[in-house]
């Protein structure tokens, strides 16, 4: 580089390139905010008049963000254009000035050379030479030339620096504009900018997530190397590679899009068939596809569960919901189709595959169950197919042999298990009307049990019992409708085997015994929540044989009573059938009871009934109204007698061996007696002196009915037992009846015991409240004077006998109802 170029450096840069950049950025600035979305910002869209709802609002909000960010982008790019144009202009100007400076430099250099040359000439002047001054003049002239040149160079350097000043300033201005643009972006690199913008654009982020998910699944399908319709065991490991990524709803949707229902069913069938073909190879063979099933089941359950689509923007959720509805329809339509070729029963249906996926999904993502739309379409279709089909009850899997991949799979059980914890969806399913008009819950609690008679306890029963506990124990109309339908189906299923004179009664009852067991306690609980229903059915003067046909589409078993919604049973026969089943809770047919008390279901119901009757009786006794008091005694006696006799008849029916009968019955009766106890809350609300007599009364009645029926016992045994029982009972009932009257103060004013004691001096038999203490607490002297007083009080004679009479009346009602079936 020459001295000049070094001193007067040329400003580097590509002006034309900078101009081109500026013009391109100008194009960006003027175009980026001119899209339709950015211009309109979600306002005035053509379809806005016909599109409403959350998705539209989300889209409009998204458009507003797009418009805003586009406008900001354009606004921050525009200054850059000006900055770069200014920089290019400054560069051009700097170069022009440097060019001039260099010209001056060249001119100065020439001038310097000429001055030096002139100095040499001056040194050779003859006159100066003659005078001896030539050398001095030459030196002086040369020095002058050098100084002038040096001054010029210095001047040029200064002017060069000055010439570059505007260029530097222009560069700084341009840089500032670019930095302004960068500062407006939500991130310090491309990834951060993209993420920051998408955070403001949830709808777009959702679309990108779905696109990414589809790309992921597309890659999976491509790696399989063959069409999805051919997938089976070889693809299991590939499916399993998705792992936890399938918990992303977008990935789950993409997977279910790639594997439509019919192909999904086929894959599940092939995997199970493969497992079956390796049944002799140990546990590994059974679990070899668990990871694949887990992935498929998770995707299946997630897509059926919109309530668990976390982290979705509203528009994405709406789009996914729209897809899901179509998907559910496909699942329902294709579910009843038989998958695979002819084989041993049971047939493998599409619903069978779906049940397998529901089970695996439930285990993989606990707490996530199918939502309302799935239950209303697919779930209902599963139940209807089960009702119409002839492949229920499902065959249990046979060890070391493989008959069908559907063996041992109960679709209904899987469905019911999957909707645990989702009472709304479960209620909708249980109340849905099947093709024959009955609600699903009535079919499940009744007819389906009869179809499985003689088989092992159905897998669906536990799930149904749990669902009933979740959906039918409330006091609202929906809960009562479910409870009523369940009890009606349960009772209807239990009725035929109990028919008197039916030679197959015991066999029928035995065949149903295992089917009913899982529901007995929950049925007792449902009835216990509506104790009025027992008396209403018992006291029903019409006692119809069938529900009115006009109400076939309604729920006649749920009625609005004075205290809110309550349930009704069809008639006394159906009530007796239900009670009879409750009496067989945990009973082991053919063997005498042993160990812990049985029949907790019946005890649970009895406690509720006694509690309800106790409240009514206490109120009636306190009122002093003779009619109310009589009515309550009738009600208490008949309800108690009906319940116990219904249970007893049922137990006797199912017990075939007469020799074991007496012992069985005694144990049965004792166990019920032992478990009858009033809830603590009720004890607190009843007069203390009334609680013990009331309970004792019921217990005594239970024992009396249970022990004294000589028509069943062998004569000798029955005679001995009933004589002893009656002797005890008569005494117990007399005392308990007395205590009841004492607690209620059920006597005329003229018969007041305190006045009588004052008139007949001696030991008092009354407590601080002025009423007789319980008989068991009296001393002999007190009891003697108490008996003397009661001889003049009629209630002490009529109440115990009335209760006993009504208990027997209730027992007779059971026998009449059963005989009338």
């Amino acid at each position: 580089m020459s001295t000049r170029d070094s001193a007067l450096a040329w400003p580097p840069g590509e002006v034309s390139e900078i101009d081109r950049i500026a013009s391109q950025l100008a194009l960006v600035a003027t175009t980026v905010d001119q899209t339709v979305v950015a211009r309109e910002g979600g306002q005035g869209w053509g379809l806005a008049r016909s599109w409403s709802g959350p998705a539209f609002e989300a889209a409009r909000s998204e458009a507003a963000v797009v418009a805003s960010r586009s406008g900001e982008l354009a606004g921050t790019v525009t200054p850059i254009v000006a900055g770069l144009q200014g920089y290019a202009a400054a560069l051009t100007e700097a170069r022009r000035r440097v060019t001039l400076l260099r010209q001056e430099w060249d001119w100065g250099a020439r001038r310097h050379d000429e001055a030096r040359h002139d100095a040499e000439l001056a040194g050779s002047d003859p006159v100066a030479v003659a005078l001896g001054a030539a050398a001095g003049q030459r030196l002086a002239a040369r020095q002058e030339a050098d100084r002038a040149w040096a001054r010029l160079q210095e001047d040029l350097r200064g002017r060069h620096t000055a010439a570059l000043g505007p260029l530097t300033a222009a560069a700084e201005r341009a840089t500032a504009t670019v930095r302004g643009f960068l500062a407006a972006l939500p991130g310090d690199d491309a990834v951060a900018v993209r993420g920051g913008l998408l955070a403001q654009l949830p709808l777009t982020a959702g679309a990108l997530r779905l696109a990414d998910a589809r790309a992921l699944i597309g890659d999976l399908v491509a790696r399989a190397g063959r069409p999805v319709q051919e997938w089976g065991a070889p693809e299991a490991d590939l499916i399993a590679t998705l792992g936890d990524r399938v918990r992303d709803p977008f990935v789950a949707q993409a997977l279910m899009e790639a594997i439509p229902p019919e192909r999904l069913h086929r894959i599940v069938e092939r995997l199970l068939t493969h497992i079956g073909s390796m049944s002799g190879m140990g546990q590994w063979s059974k679990t070899q596809f668990d990871r694949a099933f887990e992935v498929l089941g998770t995707a299946f359950v997630l897509m059926a569960s919109p309530q668990h689509w976390a982290g979705l923007d509203e528009a994405s959720a709406a789009r996914m919901e729209s897809w899901r509805r179509r998907w559910c329809t496909e699942l329902a339509h294709s579910g009843s189709s038989v998958i695979g070729g002819p084989r041993n029963p049971p047939p493998f249906l599409g619903f069978t595959a779906q049940a397998v996926l529901l089970d695996h999904g439930r285990q993989a993502v606990p707490g996530v169950g199918p939502g309302m739309a799935f239950v209303a379409t697919v779930g209902f279709a599963m139940i209807e197919t089960d009702r119409r089909g002839d492949d229920y009850p499902p065959l249990p899997p046979l060890p070391e042999s493989f008959s069908s991949p559907a063996a041992g799979i109960d679709v209904v059980a899987s469905l019911l298990r999957s909707i645990r914890g989702e009472p709304d969806a479960a209620s909708a399913l249980l109340l849905a009307r099947l093709g024959d008009g009955q609600p699903v819950v009535r079919y499940l609690a009744g007819e389906r049990l009869v179809r499985g008679a003689g088989g092992p306890p159905p897998a669906a029963i536990d799930a149904l019992a749990a669902l009933l506990a979740e959906t039918a124990t409330g006091t609202d109309e929906r809960s009562v409708m479910i409870a009523g339908a369940a009890l009606d189906g349960f009772g209807a299923a239990a009725e035929p085997p109990e028919r008197a004179g039916n030679g197959d009664a015991a066999a029928g009852a035995l065949a149903l015994h295992g089917q009913m067991q899982g529901l007995r306690f929950v049925m007792a609980d449902l009835l216990a929540r509506h104790p009025d229903a027992v008396w209403a059915s018992l006291n029903d003067p019409i006692n119809v044989l069938a529900w009115p046909m006009a109400e076939a589409d309604g729920h006649p078993w749920a009625v609005l009573g004075a205290d809110g919604w309550t349930l009704r049973l069809l008639n006394r026969s159906r009530l007796a059938a239900v009670l009879g089943e409750l009496g067989k809770d945990r009973l082991h047919p053919g063997t005498a009871a042993s160990g812990p008390p049985t029949a907790p279901a019946l005890a649970h119901l009895l406690n509720a009934l006694v509690a309800a009757q106790g409240v009514g009786l206490a109120q009636a006794l306190a009122s002093g109204n003779a009619q109310d008091q009589d009515a309550q005694i009738v009600q208490l006696g008949q309800v108690t007698g009906f319940v116990i006799e219904a249970a007893r008849q049922s137990v006797l029916t199912i017990q075939a061996g007469a020799d074991a009968e007496v012992a069985v019955r005694r144990e049965f009766v004792d166990s019920i007696v032992a478990m009858v106890s009033l809830p603590a809350s009720l004890k607190a609300s009843l007069p203390a002196t009334l609680t013990a007599p009331l309970l004792g009364l019921v217990k005594a009645a239970i024992k009396r009915i249970g022990y004294s029926d000589g028509s069943v016992d062998s004569a000798a045994t029955a005679d001995a037992q009933t004589a002893a029982a009656r002797a005890r009972l008569d005494d117990d009932l007399r005392h308990l009846g007395w205590d009841l009257v004492s607690a209620a103060g059920w006597w005329d004013v003229a018969d007041d015991p305190v006045a009588w004691i004052e008139a007949h001096p001696g030991v008092s038999f009354c407590g601080e409240d002025g009423r007789p203490v319980p008989v068991e607490e009296m001393s002999a002297a007190q009891r003697e004077r108490f008996h003397a007083w009661t001889r003049g009080v009629p209630a002490y004679t009529t109440v115990p006998s009335a209760i006993v009479e009504q208990i027997e009346e209730g027992a007779r009602a059971v026998r009449t109802a059963i005989a009338g079936r």
Binding site: I18, Q24, S52, A59, S70, G187, L197, L203, T204
Partner: protein, 78 residues
């Protein structure tokens, strides 16, 4: 009266805006090129060159994201 219409059903009506997405993606490429060229064109102003390079990278990311958003919102809005 407002009538609810499913977002997917509106997809077909989105063609009115179908050109915006490609245009924005072209702009994203353009600004990316500016970043690459900027550093080369301004050797005398290294700070400016670096800033332009960052502009190309981040601006491209921003505009391509807006391109996707335009396309997606446009499909929904018709």
């Amino acid at each position: 009266m407002l009538v609810h219409v499913e977002p997917d059903d509106l997809a077909a009506a989105g063609h009115r805006m179908s050109g915006d997405g490609p245009r924005l993606r072209a702009l994203a490429q353009l600004i990316s090129g500016c970043g690459v060229a900027g550093r080369r064109a301004c050797p005398g102003a290294p700070a400016l060159g670096q800033a332009l390079a960052a502009l190309g990278e981040r601006g491209s990311a921003a505009i391509s994201t807006l391109a996707v958003a335009n396309g997606h919102v446009g499909r929904g809005a018709g």
